[in-house]
Amino acid sequence: MRIGVITFPGTLDDVDAARAVRFAGAEAVSLWHADEDLHGVDAVVVPGGFSYGDYLRCGAIARFAPVMTSVAEAARGGMPVLGICNGFQILCEAGLLPGALVRNAKLHFVCRDQWLRVENTSSAWSARYEPNAEILVPLKSGEGGYLADKSTLDELEAEGRVVFRYVGENPNGSARDIAGICSQNGRVVGLMPHPEHAIDPLTGPTDDGLGMFYSALDSLVAV
C-alpha cells in the first residue's frame, strides 16, 4: 500500500505523518505541493503545519496548490484522504469538508495531550477502533475551533459524520466538542488532533493514533 504525504511550503508534520504510515506497515510517498501528479498512491495524508505561514487564514493559500486539485478529484473518486490539523483546515477551505476552523476560544496556541471519543467507526480512517473508544493523542493548534452553521452541524450529527469528539473540557471552543468529521461517503476525514504524534509511547503519550492508519489500510484492502 502506498500512502502519499503532501508537503507545502511551511508544512511541519510531514515527517511525522510519513513515519506513522511506515509504522502502520505501508509505504510513505512524499508529494510536493506544486506537482499535480499523485504518483499512483492509494490514499493521501494532508499533514499539519503552517502552510505559507497561515498568515491570512489557516489553509487559505494551500488549498489552491496544484496538488490539491488532484486530491479533490481523487477524493471524489473515493480515495481515502486524511487531513490533520492544518490539513483539516485545508480540506475545509477546499470545500472537501464542511465548516471552518477559527481561533481558539482563549486565543492561545494549545499543545497538550487530549482525550477523544471515536464516534464513527465506519469511516476510512476510524474503522479499526471500537465504537466509543477513548483515545489519547496530542492536540497542538492555535486555530482549532470547529465552526459551521446550525443546519450543517445538525446534518453532521444526523449522518453520524462526527468522527472524533473531545472528552472533558473543550480545549478550543469547538462547536459541540467536535474534534474531527468526515465526508458523506466517509472517505475524507479531517481532525485537529495529531494521530501521527501518537504512534510510539517513547515520543508521544500513547500509540492510539496508529489505529487511523491501520483503518486506512483495512479500507484499501476491502475495496
Partner: protein, 79 residues
C-alpha cells in the same frame, strides 16, 4: 493605479473570541463605555487600473474572506 480597501469581519452570528477578549480587557485598563467589540481584518491593495470591480469581488470572496464565517466589503479609495 488605484488603492482598494477590503474589510473582512466575522459574521454577526459567529462567536468572535478576539473581539470578546478586547471588550473584556478594556474595563480592566480603566476604559468604560465600550459595549461591544468585533475584530476583523483590513487589507489595503494597490491595483492596476485594469483590475475591475468584479475581479476585486472575486478576490475578496474566494480568497481574502472565508464566506462560511466572514463577511467582506470592497471599496476603492483615494490614494
Amino acid at each position: 493605479m488605484a488603492r482598494v480597501v477590503v474589510d473582512v469581519m466575522p459574521k454577526p452570528e459567529i462567536l468572535d473570541p478576539q473581539g470578546k477578549a478586547v471588550a473584556g480587557a478594556l474595563p480592566r485598563l480603566g476604559f468604560t463605555g465600550v459595549t461591544e467589540v468585533r475584530q476583523g481584518k483590513r487589507f489595503e491593495l494597490e491595483v492596476d487600473d485594469s483590475v475591475d470591480d468584479a475581479t476585486l469581488a472575486k478576490i475578496a470572496e474566494s480568497f481574502l474572506a472565508n464566506p462560511v464565517i466572514e463577511d467582506w466589503s470592497v471599496r476603492r479609495v483615494e490614494p
